[in-house]
C-alpha cells in the first residue's frame, strides 16, 4: 500500500565540504580583520570616510560575513525550505569568484585604486550572480511558499542591488581619459562609454550619502533580513518551539522591506523622510522581537545552550542599535566629531555586535552538525557515536562569549571617545575570543580527520566466561 502524497526521497542537503569551505574562509577573513584593527586601531577612532576604513569594512562584510552567510545558505536554505540545492557545481564556482573578488577588492581599496576595485568587484559580482541564480532556482522548487522563503527572496533582491550600487559607486570614482584613445567600434569602448554615463549619474549624489545608502542595502537588506528570516526557522528548531503568529512574522519582513526601500531613497537623496523611514525599519524589528519572545516563551526545551545565548545576545543588541539608528536619522542632526564617531559605533555595533555575534552563535550549531553528520551519521545504531556537544569544549565557548562581549564594550568606548588605544585593547579581547573559537572549531574539524567511535555494547569481561565452553543453541526449542 502507498501512504498518500509525499515528497519522496529526492530532497537532501548538499555535501558538507561545500559549506565548510566557505565557513573556514570566512573565519580566516575575520581573523585577518581583527588583527588588522589591532595594528591600526585609528581606523575605528577616526571618521569612517577613508580608504582604510572602507578596506577593512569590506574585509568584514565580504570576506567574513558574506562568505559565511553564503556557505550557510547553501546548507540551510534547502533544509529549511524542504527542497534540494539547484546546483552544487555553481556553488563551487561561486566560491572561487568570491574569494578572488573580495581579496582583490580589499587590497585595492587599501591602495585606493578604484579602477581595480571595479575589476575585482566585477569578479565578485559574477560570483554573487551565480549565488543569486542558484538560490532562486532552489526557491522555485520550494513545495510550499512561506515567510521564510519571502525573507530569503527579499535578501537576494537587496544583495543584487547592494552589489550593483557598489559597482556604480566605484565606476563613479574612476576617470575615463582613455576613452577617446579607444576604437569607437570596439566592444570595450561601448563598455567604457556605459561606465562613464553611470559615473555621470552617480555624480549627482554626494559621495557619503551614496556610500551610506549602499551600506544599508547590504547590512539591513541582506544580513538583517537573513537573520530575521532564518531565525523563524532555526530558533523553533533549536528550542523546540513553533512560530506563534505567522502573520506577525510576515509583517516583520514586509516592514523591513518597505522601511529599507524608503530609507535607501531618503539617505541617497538626503531627504528629511530619513527619520520616518528609519522608524519603519525599527517597527519591523519591534514586531520581530515580539515574535521571537513569543517563540521563546512557548519553547519546550527550557535550557538555552551557549550557541543560542550568543545568538539571542546578538539579537538583543538590536535594541541599542535601533536607538542609535533613530538618533542618527534625527532631522537636522549636526555632523561633528562626536556624531561622526556615533556613526562609526553604529556600523561597528551592526556588523560586529549583531551580525558577527549572531553568526558565531549559529556556527556553534552548524559546524558541529555538519562535522557530526559527515563523520557519524552512517555509524548510528552500529557503533556508539559522540553527541554534538562532545565535539567542542563548552568551557571555551563560555570564555569566547564573555571575551567577545567585553571586547565589544571596550572597543565601543574607544570609538565614542576617539581613543585608538582603548579600541586596540578592545580588539585584542576580540582576538582572544577568536582564538578560543578557533580552538573549538579545530576540535570540531578534528572529528572529520579522525572520527571517534566506540563499540555499541560493552562486553562484561569476566574470567569465568572466557573459560566456559559455549553451547550452540541458536535458535533451539525447549
Amino acid at each position: 500500500m502507498t501512504p498518500g502524497a509525499f515528497g519522496a526521497f529526492s530532497p537532501h542537503a548538499p555535501n558538507i565540504v561545500l559549506p565548510l569551505r566557505f565557513v573556514v574562509t570566512g573565519l580566516l577573513a575575520l581573523f585577518s580583520g581583527v588583527i588588522w584593527l589591532i595594528v591600526r586601531p585609528d581606523i575605528l577612532a577616526t571618521y569612517h570616510y577613508n580608504q582604510y576604513v572602507i578596506a577593512v569594512t569590506h574585509l568584514f562584510v565580504l570576506g567574513w560575513i558574506s562568505t559565511i552567510v553564503m556557505g550557510a545558505m547553501y546548507q540551510l536554505v534547502p533544509v529549511a525550505l524542504e527542497t534540494k540545492l539547484y546546483s552544487e557545481r555553481l556553488a563551487r564556482w561561486q566560491f572561487i569568484f568570491h574569494l578572488i573578488g573580495f581579496v582583490g577588492m580589499v587590497w585595492m581599496f587599501w591602495t585606493w585604486n578604484l579602477k581595480q576595485v571595479g575589476h575585482f568587484g566585477s569578479v565578485l559580482t559574477v560570483g554573487v550572480a551565480l549565488f543569486v541564480y542558484n538560490i532562486i532556482r532552489t526557491l522555485l522548487r520550494v513545495p510550499r511558499w512561506n515567510f521564510v522563503a519571502t525573507g530569503v527572496a527579499s535578501a537576494l533582491s537587496w544583495l543584487s542591488l547592494a552589489v550593483l550600487a557598489g559597482l556604480a559607486i566605484a565606476a563613479g570614482k574612476c576617470s575615463y581619459d582613455s576613452e577617446s584613445a579607444l576604437l569607437q567600434a570596439a566592444p570595450v569602448s561601448a563598455l567604457v562609454h556605459f561606465l562613464k554615463s553611470v559615473a555621470g549619474y552617480v555624480a549627482h549624489f554626494d559621495a557619503i550619502s551614496a556610500m551610506h545608502a549602499h551600506a544599508h542595502l547590504g547590512s539591513v537588506g541582506v544580513f538583517l533580513m537573513l537573520i530575521v528570516g532564518m531565525s523563524y526557522k532555526l530558533l523553533p528548531m533549536f528550542t523546540l518551539s513553533e512560530v506563534q503568529n505567522p502573520r506577525r512574522a510576515r509583517a516583520s519582513i514586509w516592514l523591513l522591506n518597505v522601511g529599507l526601500l524608503a530609507s535607501f531613497l531618503a539617505v541617497l537623496f538626503r531627504s528629511p523622510l530619513k527619520f520616518i523611514s528609519s522608524l519603519l525599519i525599527v517597527a519591523g524589528l519591534v514586531v520581530y522581537g515580539l515574535e521571537i519572545l513569543a517563540i521563546l516563551r512557548a519553547r519546550k526545551r527550557r535550557a538555552l545552550d551557549w550557541g543560542l545565548r550568543y545568538f539571542l545576545t546578538a539579537l538583543s543588541l538590536l535594541v541599542p542599535l535601533s536607538f542609535l539608528a533613530v538618533l542618527l536619522a534625527w532631522p537636522g542632526l549636526p555632523l561633528n566629531v562626536f556624531t561622526g564617531q556615533l556613526e562609526n559605533l553604529y556600523g561597528f555595533l551592526a556588523f560586529v555586535g549583531v551580525v558577527s555575534f549572531a553568526i558565531v552563535g549559529m556556527l556553534y550549531k552548524i559546524i558541529p552538525f555538519l562535522v557530526w553528520y559527515r563523520s557519524y551519521s552512517s555509524k548510528i545504531g552500529l557503533a556508539k557515536v559522540p553527541s554534538l556537544a562532545d565535539l567542542y569544549s563548552p568551557g571555551l565557548q563560555v570564555a569566547g562569549y564573555w571575551s567577545w562581549l567585553s571586547g565589544l564594550v571596550t572597543t565601543s568606548l574607544g570609538i565614542i571617545l576617539s581613543q585608538a588605544m582603548v579600541a586596540r585593547v578592545g580588539c585584542s579581547l576580540f582576538l582572544l575570543s577568536l582564538i578560543v573559537l578557533a580552538v573549538n572549531v579545530a576540535k570540531m574539524l578534528s572529528h572529520l580527520a579522525k572520527p571517534r567511535v566506540e563499540p555499541l555494547l560493552q562486553v562484561p569481561k569476566r574470567a569465568s566466561e572466557f573459560q566456559r565452553p559455549q553451547p550452540e543453541i541458536i535458535p533451539s526449542r525447549s
Binding site: 501512504p3 523546540l240 553528520y373 548510528i380 545504531g381 557515536v385 566466561e465 526449542r477
Partner: protein, 175 residues
C-alpha cells in the same frame, strides 16, 4: 499460558563483537502467535525492552546462576498494551491501519520533541534493528531532510507524509 518457547543465546555473538540485534529481531519476527522468546545474554538487554514493547511484548528478566541474564519475552495480553506510554502513538488509527494493510509488523518510533540531530539518531538506531519484512513508522516534528540519504545508503526505501498537525510520518522498509 503454556506457550512454546524459542531460545536464543547471543552471548557468543556479543563476546566475539558481532551485533546480535538483527538476529534477535529475526527470531522475534519468526515467532508464531503462541510462542515466547527466551533470550540469554551476558547482561540485561535493557534497550531491547522498549523496542519489543512497541511490538507488543512484555518481558520477565532474571539473572542466571552463571552470572548471565535470561529474559523471556511474551506477548502482552490485549487491553493492557496502552499501559506503556510509548504505545500511545502506536495505537493511533493511522499506525494501526498501516499495520493491518501491509500485513507486516510495524515498529513505531516517536522522535518528536527532540532537538536535532536526536530525531535522526533515534530513527536510525531503530532502523538498525528493523527485521526483514517489518516496516518502521517514524514520527518527526519536521520533514527529516537529513534522514533520506542515510536510509538510501543503508539499503532501505521509504516515504514521508505530512500530517494535519504539521508533523511528519516517515515509513521505511528494506529495499
Amino acid at each position: 499460558m503454556s506457550n512454546d518457547t524459542v531460545t536464543l543465546d547471543v552471548r557468543e555473538d556479543i563476546r566475539s563483537g558481532r551485533e546480535p540485534f538483527s538476529k534477535i529481531m529475526a527470531a522475534v519476527a519468526g515467532l508464531k502467535a503462541t510462542q515466547d522468546l527466551r533470550l540469554i545474554a551476558p547482561f540485561e538487554p535493557v534497550p531491547l525492552f522498549g523496542i519489543l514493547s512497541q511490538q507488543g511484548f512484555s518481558h520477565r528478566s532474571s539473572p542466571t546462576s552463571a552470572g548471565d541474564f535470561e529474559v523471556v519475552f511474551f506477548r502482552t495480553p490485549a487491553g493492557t498494551m496502552s499501559a506503556d506510554p510509548k504505545m500511545k502513538g502506536g495505537s493511533t488509527p493511522a499506525a494501526a491501519g498501516h499495520a493491518v494493510c501491509s500485513g507486516a509488523p510495524v515498529i513505531e518510533v516517536d522522535a518528536r520533541g527532540l532537538e536535532p540531530p536526536q530525531p535522526l539518531v533515534k530513527v536510525l538506531e531503530a532502523l538498525t534493528n528493523l527485521p526483514q519484512g517489518a516496516r518502521l513508522l517514524a514520527r518527526t516534528d519536521r520533514r527529516p531532510m537529513h534522514l533520506y540519504a542515510q536510509i538510501e545508503e543503508r539499503g532501505f526505501k521509504g516515504e514521508s507524509e505530512e500530517q494535519a498537525d504539521g508533523s511528519f510520518v516517515t515509513y521505511v522498509e528494506h529495499r
